[in-house]
Amino acid sequence: MDQIDDKSLELERLPHSKSKLDQKASKRAPDELEQQVNERTTQLSAINTQLINEIAERERAEIELTLVKDELAADLKTMLRLHELSTRLLKSTELQPLLEEILDATIELLNADFGNVQLCNPQSKALEIVAQRGFKPGFLDHFADASQESRLCDRAMSQRARVIIDDVETDPDFAPHRQIATSVGFRAVQATPLFSRNGEPLGILATHFHQPHHSSEHDLRFLDLYAHLAAEFIERKRAEERLRRNEIYLEEGQRLSHTASWAWNVSTGEVYWSTEMFRIFDLDPDIVKPGYPDVLQYVHGDDRVRVKKTFEDAVREKKEYELAYRIVWSNGTIRYIHNLAHPVFDGNGTLIEYVGTTIDTTERIQAEEAALKAHQQIDMILESISDNFFGLDKEGRFTYFNPHAANQMRALGRDPDALIGRVAWEEFPDMPNKENVLRALSERVVVVDELYYAPLEEWVENHMYPSNDGGLVTFQRYITERKRTEEELRKTQDELAHVTRVTTLGELTASIAHEVNQPLGAIVTNGQACLRLLSSSDLDIKEVREAVECMIADGIRASEVIKRIRRLLKKSKGGKSSYSINDNIREVLALTASELTRNRINVRTELADDLPCVIADRVQIQQVVLNLVLNSKEAMSAACWQPCELLISTEHAESAILVTITDTGVGIAPENRERIFAPFFTSKEEGLGLGLSISRTIIESHGGRLWSKPTQNGQGTTFKFTLPLGEDR
């Protein structure tokens, strides 16, 4: 613009030079001559004027020519720049520097002060500045926060047309953004949207001016060229990027999926393989050039004929084909592959080539084989186990019966297949363990129960395990036989316990006789005293009464002893009752008192008051106490140099009653401490060696524990046993 202004000023100066010539001619004319001269002068002047005019005209023309020349030169420069840029476009890889160059060219073209290139983010659709010139950093920050400036660009994008603001101060549309313009420092702005060939918006090429500015049509045309060029750059770059990415994706995808692609020119036998194809065949793409029929050499010998025939049939029939076969790597590894191919025809319908995919299915086939094997194994296990196996879902519906369970359903007159999907307790309302099933289902805990199922006339044991799907798997076992054996075992044990009880009592015979004899002796003596008193002359009736009362008391006392013995001799029926353990101890001490006395054993008891009751077989527990007391007696009579003391104490220990029997006897050798509980282990000459073994069996069958340890602070042994408290205490 400045240039143009300069030229117009020069033209205005021309009239001044013409007036100088006029003054020179007028000085030479006196009269005629002068007139002639004048005429001549006039002529000359006219000519001169004409000449001058011509000159001026010519000068103007020259100037105009120069102007055009300059303009053309500028255009040429712009064109050259465009050409250079577009040439570079073909070679360049980087978008950023090219965009910056286009921006520079545009700023120069429009004589702008600064500008930027914004690209439309393909994901967010938001505009982002990718190249800028002359902006202060603050503005860029501002722009990043969805700036006002961008709204102008958004307008250009949405209107799909250039937006030009010649002066932000006067343009009414720009009024809302004026403050921004002021702060950034521009008065004029233009934003040219960039579009791809198919009209997709790509971005904005914007330039800004410090002063109000109006761009000429000429400039704007060139601006369009730059914008086109930029758009082309961007589009091309994006296409390249996409292509490159797709290639990477394809290769990566092929590698990950073990899927390769290939093409086979049927007529030439030429074969194209993707990278993955080489990988599948374990071949080096730099060494091996695949071709047909050479590729057949990689096919497993057993499959080769079939593969070849399939290829050839497909070619002959021009059909698609699908084929699974094995290949062999050079190291002998066998791989399973799967081919899928379809024919490609030219316009005349002639078969040109096959394109296809090849998948390495080795892992899949191996996994399938393994899964199948595992599945078969599970099936086999489920079918071979002799237990009944049921599956229930979380609603309690049957999901599975193994053959044994199915047979059980049939035995109950039900069709197992029809029961699948039906709720167990609705189908079997008499189910005895419904509560346990519901508990296992709701609390997700393993529940084991034992029950007698009358319709089957069998005892069954159920193991219910919560399964991952929220349901239950239940193993059911018939335990009728086991129950019978257990019952027999219990009977045998009871029998044995009884026998040892009788044996123990045998050891006590002397003491028991003494216990009975004592009151009998007293009765007889009192009776004799009575007779004497009665025959006396002065009858002391009071004395006689006392004697008779004593006789009655002693009679009762004797019968108590007998009762105690009978209770102990009685065969246990396994019945449990609730009673105080202290009763057991007192009774045993009553039975053994004379035996202990005879052996000079001092008995001390520390029986806790207010002990909770135990629920136990009274006779059996009494047998245990008796056994332990007699063992202690034995141990102490063997250690006759010791002051003999037997201490029996009871206490309430947590959820059990603890009975402790401490003696000061010979003690037990450490190596025998556990052996004493083994059957037929005895240190006595006449013992059966069953006492402690049976005692332990009895205590354990009551859910308690029996053990021994050396007596503290001295010689002897301490036996302890626990009995769990009854639940209804």
Binding site: A510, A513, H514, N517, Q518, P519, L520, G521, A522, I523, V524, T525, N526, Q528, A529, R532, L533, S536, E543, E546, A547, C550, A553, D554, R557, S594, T597, R598, R600, N602
Partner: protein, 215 residues
């Protein structure tokens, strides 16, 4: 026949209260004085009346047994006769008891007469023993009055030597021996030689054992 014998007592030691009471009642019924004890220790700890008596002792007692008590009594010089009673006596036990000087060994229940007879004979024994002990004590008092020489003369006299022989053995005259002999007869209150021999027999071992000491 059964008369009240005031100065005698029967000691009953039995841990069984009703047996103890029954025996006590029976003995009372025949007029015997009874003291009862529940254990051997209780019996030993009691100061006993110095009258003829008898112990009715249960063999099986807590702590010190009946047999132990019998032994302990011997050791302590308690000479009361013992009648054992037992719930069930075995032979070795009864032999041991009888050897240790028991009067009787009765098995419960026993006939009352058997017990009464045993107790009476026990008391009788004790009475006799007491009399003998008293006579012996008297004799010992007499012996204590003899001089050394008189004791020597007495032992030689009762062994049947003549005065002349004694004089020769002791290295003195027959006359001196005669005087000693007269003193012995007087101090011992012996009526005849036979009497003196009987006395010396009774003193028996006591004399010999006392020989070295001169109190």
């Amino acid at each position: 026949m059964i008369a009240k014998i005031p100065n005698q007592v029967v000691f009953v030691v039995d841990d069984d209260a009703s047996m103890r009471d029954a025996i006590s009642r029976l003995l009372n019924a025949v007029g015997l004085t009874v003291q009862t004890f529940a254990s051997a220790r209780a019996f030993l700890n009691r100061r006993l009346p110095d009258v003829p008596g008898c112990v009715v002792l249960d063999v099986r007692l807590p702590g010190l047994s009946g047999l132990d008590l019998q032994r302990e009594m011997v050791e302590r010089g308690i000479h009361i006769p013992v009648v054992f009673i037992t719930g069930h006596g075995d032979i070795p036990m009864s032999v041991q008891a009888m050897k240790a000087g028991a009067v009787e060994f009765l098995t419960k229940p026993f006939r009352d007469q058997d017990l009464l007879d045993a107790v009476r004979s026990g008391i009788q024994l004790d009475r006799k023993a007491r009399e003998e002990r008293a006579e012996l004590a008297e004799l010992r008092d007499c012996v204590r009055q003899l001089t050394q020489r008189e004791q020597e003369v007495m032992s030689l006299v009762v062994s049947g030597l003549l005065n002349k022989q004694i004089a020769l053995q002791l290295g003195t005259s027959e006359k001196t021996i005669k005087i000693h002999r007269g003193q012995v007869m007087r101090k011992m209150r012996a009526n005849s030689l036979a009497d003196l021999v009987r006395m010396s027999q009774k003193l028996g071992l006591a004399l010999i054992s006392r020989k070295p000491c001169k109190d």
